[in-house]
Symmetry: C2
Subunit: 356 residues, 2 copies
């Protein structure tokens, strides 16, 4: 198969964690052995968690050799008093980066000699708490690294340069237009605000009448609430729905809330005002918002204003859509969206769309 | 990666041609070389076209050796006075099965020795105009064949038996529940009627107000019209929309039409009545329909009757959904669907859904 095929697998994996990696970019990585067999498809999942490359390298080694997996489980569980037993548990865990790097370097047994790595973003070259990904790839003897987009700020000092100087065959630019879309939130919040609008609707466009999305969708949404800097909500929605707006399904911190309203007459018994460690402000002008990552949860009126460009510069819409038709009125407005990614959460679909 | 990973690739490819293969089942095939590298992901596309397995084998050989591709193009173009130049053209073409089989047997050069094939359906064992797929796989020296579901009628004489007796490692049952869903239309039309309902709507559930779907979606729909036995449409839709109901975008034969109406007062100037080589009948009772493959294109009232079980036994709904919100009323009914497959046709999405 073509380089595009593998890069597409890496991209799809990265999209699953779009925004959730804030303030880091979403990054995906696919590793193939020297014969071209896929060993792992992984992504960076959350700030603080492993980068996509060491995650993919670790799981490639587990794939190649059960004993490496068993050794990892034993040593990790002893070292951190954990009780991980399965690949699935490891896959979801916030693994200690330093431990993983050292484990990889001590146990790779040259199994990844002449392997290939497909990464959506140029591997990092900075030494932080752990070695840079480019150094790790170099030390494992990879033969080929295919990069979709390079970090523009580091042309002289970046990971690609380190890899090339080590004699690795580096190819840059595969599916780069797609990766630029993937990276747009990151690029935007680095130098301003990335604002997206969240909408949950039935298959036939109904957004009212109680809970629309399934628990998987709501958990995903709570994960987003757990990473954003600010949640903006319309005043009418607060008055009518009386929401909590916390992130309990993801065991995460409830976001700060800005209520968009010209009136300040809110019943303070509404649950959202009583959530601990949260700021709530009431704004009659959203232009003062200057947080890097902002999610809007509004109703039809708010979406109309956004679609018309009347309030805020909303780049993307996140839509959760159930597989159920409801016997009720739909949300009505004229707007064309460009699909960027669609995935499934059980019987619900969710997708990221660009406002055209 | 797991056997499930490769079978899922085969299944997704097969779903792209769901119904279009009528009266054959939709079948997908993935071929990996002896090292586990993916060489091809192909499907059976249309009755008369190559089966999934020889299609995948042919493209695996092209992938392995450019000279085999060039030789194929030269010989095929001479033999059939074609002017195919690219893999893409070959991929879309109705290739001569006998020629392809003989070409594969003369030119494989043992390149697929010890390869693996993932097939959603047990390879065929009957000698028709061309050798059976099971024989072909055997002759090429495959090491492993992974089959999702077996043909229940051929346990004693089927392809799996041929493969096992040739010493090939045969594994059966990978993702079989998913493949059973894929095969449901085929199983149904073999012994009765498979009836599906087609709906085109905007992102927010609007089905009225002119053309909703893009040209890719409409072409897909015309391909379906080209293979079905009967198109059922509501009388009101005929009176209001005055449709042609042909298959011109797919250069295919227009389907026979049954208009569901108690009144027979149709203006015979309506375009659908003037399409050549088409039967049109007006029915006040749809229970008399006994064609194996039937598509319904109706409006809201017809879908409501179907959802309530008042008319016909509709198994699946096919939905084309655009990425556009329209400022108009939605289709309104209470029905829960179970998504089976969703794909993209440009900015439109389409999906097959089970009626719950
Ligand atoms: Zn890194
Ligand atoms: Zn066959």
């Amino acid at each position: 198969m073509s380089d595009e095929f593998y890069m597409d697998l890496a991209l799809n994996e990265a999209w699953k964690y779009q925004i959730l990696t804030y303030p880091n970019p979403a990054v995906g990585c696919v590793i193939c052995d020297k014969f071209g067999k896929i060993l792992s498809i992984k992504a960076h999942k959350k700030a603080g968690y492993l980068h996509a490359e060491p995650m993919a390298i670790l799981f490639a080694l587990f794939n190649l050799n059960d004993e490496i997996l068993n050794k990892f489980l034993n040593e990790y569980n002893v070292c951190f008093t954990q009780s991980f037993k399965t690949l699935t548990e490891l896959n979801e865990a916030d693994l200690d980066a330093k431990f993983c790097y050292e484990f990889i370097l001590s146990n790779h047994g040259n199994l990844l000699n002449d392997a290939s790595a497909y990464v959506t973003l140029e591997p990092c070259s900075h030494h932080g708490k752990t070695p840079a990904c480019a150094i790790l790839i170099k030390q494992l003897g990879f033969k080929r690294v295919i990069i979709s987009v390079c970090d523009e700020n580091k042309i002289a000092s970046g990971g690609a340069k380190i890899l090339k100087e080590a004699g690795i065959d580096v190819k840059i630019g595969v599916l780069k237009e797609h990766t630029k879309k993937l990276m747009l939130p990151f690029k935007t919040w680095l130098n301003g605000n990335f604002i997206f609008y969240k909408l949950a609707m039935s298959a036939n466009g109904v957004i009212t009448g109680g809970i629309i999305s399934n628990e998987l969708s709501r958990t995903h949404m709570h994960k987003l609430r757990g990473v954003i800097d600010l949640l903006v909500i319309g005043g009418n929605t607060v008055r009518v729905d009386r929401p909590v707006l916390d992130a309990r399904l993801a065991n995460a911190k409830a976001p700060d809330v800005a209520i968009y309203s010209t009136k300040r007459d809110f019943d303070t018994d509404i649950a959202l005002f009583s959530v601990k460690n949260r700021n709530v402000e009431i704004l009659d002008n959203l232009e003062v918002i200057n947080k890097p990552l902002v999610m809007i949860e509004g109703g039809e009126q708010m979406l109309k204003k956004i679609a018309l460009g009347e309030i805020l510069n909303v780049k993307w819409v996140l839509i959760y859509q159930s597989s159920e038709f409801k016997n009720a009125d739909n949300i009505k407005l004229d707007v064309r969206l460009k699909p960027l990614y669609e995935g499934r959460l059980g019987d619900d679909r969710y997708g990221w769309y660009e406002v055209c």
